[in-house]
Symmetry: C2
Subunit: 232 residues, 2 copies
DNA sequence: CCTCACCTATTGGTGACACCATTATGCCGT
DNA sequence: ACGGCATAATGGTGTCACCAATAGGTGAGG
């Protein structure tokens, strides 16, 4: 897959703003810069086109599109934007989406999760509490548990669209930690809420699961600041 | 763009189940069937790969992936699946997503919408009521207004991720009507709720907008049946 | 019957070519 | 001098022939 590095580089350049809307590229230019043939450059361009980042036409070259044409829900675009400037703003937008989706997903999971998943959720929440109360709430292990719990919930919601958003949630949680936006040690209320979600799902109480998850996400959003999510 | 018809046809075939997971294709086969060169077939395949529908490797050909690898949030995939069998199930999944997102989007719009948008929302809701009470709630004009109102709300939420979901909401609303899942004439409560959302946004009352939008989506979901959204 | 080596099918990648749409240039007429 | 139309240059679109790499089947041999 020779086109992957080209796709990555151009994707990051565009989403990062280094190639602003209206900028033009040519296949020969891309080929020359990356040392690939026109065919490979064309393939990378097609992928970019599929993501809504560029549009190509005869004589005009490959034109970078304004950001409101981008497939901002595509995991690749999300990852690129989280790695570039404006990641804080992107994180706010994503957190708002989490705020919308996760409570309902938790409610659905309470209805549809398998017995195994219910057990695992409870076990995960318990381990989170143990780690958190042992003062290890800032490590990678705690982060992994946090992600696992949220991902399990999304994937057990019985709604494939929510499942598809599980990756997004994972990257948001991880991004928040690695950007230093987490409290150094998880607050007791957060631990309580995570455990409450797990227990509510385990006993099939959708309303309680939804409420507890809403508490979690509200807290997350509060930590990110109340301002409206920007466009960057 | 010679590859478009190929992409369309194969995309629909895969998402529709005519090409089940594990089925294999070859570039030459695609080229022969559609009368295009291998290059074009390869480009179509790349796009399909970008959508998570297939994976290609030397000697193994192009393998159709199981549906949990699909980019189910991509507008193209959504459209294809809505056009194929299992559209009712797909509509349920999408409606669940609407249920999650639209209330929060309405709340955000109440904070962030421009004065022009607020006016247009109110005017749109008013025209919807007029049409509905005139017995024309089943026509294309009413549908267009309905879509316009929801789209305006999503796009004015100030969150680009919600904006990206506006297309999805539009296609869901339109699909629901054209699949005959709408009541022949809109119920008075629906008209009330739409107007309530518009007025709440107009006066900047986020909580009321959220509550009214939740009423709308709950009603929609009720009409689709309460069963869990399937996978097809 | 199992194992291993080889063979072949099929994708990955390249370069050259013809084609065509679009844009810009420049000419000509008013 | 200005505006409209013809023409040329530019750069994507599509095809072809070719080579490299690889994976999976096949057949021979133990």
């Amino acid at each position: 897959m020779l086109h992957s590095p080209v796709l990555e580089a151009l994707g990051r350049r565009i989403t990062g703003g280094a190639l602003p809307a209206g900028a033009t590229l040519t296949l020969d230019g891309i080929g020359a810069e990356f040392g690939v043939s026109r065919t490979v450059a064309r393939e990378a361009m097609r992928l970019l086109e599929g993501l809504g980042l560029v549009r190509s036409g005869p004589r005009v070259g490959i034109v970078v599109l304004p950001h409101d044409a981008w497939n901002v829900l595509d995991p690749r675009v999300i990852e690129w934007r989280l790695a570039g400037p404006g990641r804080a703003s992107q994180l706010r937008s994503l957190t708002e989406l989490r705020q919308a989706v996760e409570p309902l997903a938790a409610s659905c999971a309470a209805r549809g999760a398998t017995a195994a998943v219910r057990d695992e959720l409870v076990a995960t929440a318990r381990r989170m509490r143990e780690l958190g109360e042992a003062g290890k709430g800032d490590g990678e292990e705690f982060l992994a548990l946090d992600i696992q719990l949220h991902e399990l919930l999304m994937r057990s919601s019985g709604n494939e669209l929510f499942s598809a958003l599980a990756d997004v949630v994972a990257v948001v949680i991880s991004g928040r930690t690695h950007l230093g936006l987490m409290p150094a040690y998880p607050e007791p209320e957060a631990l309580d809420a995570h455990e409450a979600v797990a227990l509510a799902v385990a006993r099939g109480d959708g309303a309680a699961a939804e409420e507890a998850m809403a508490r979690i996400v509200r807290e997350v959003r509060g930590a990110l600041g109340e301002g409206p999510a920007g466009k960057g």
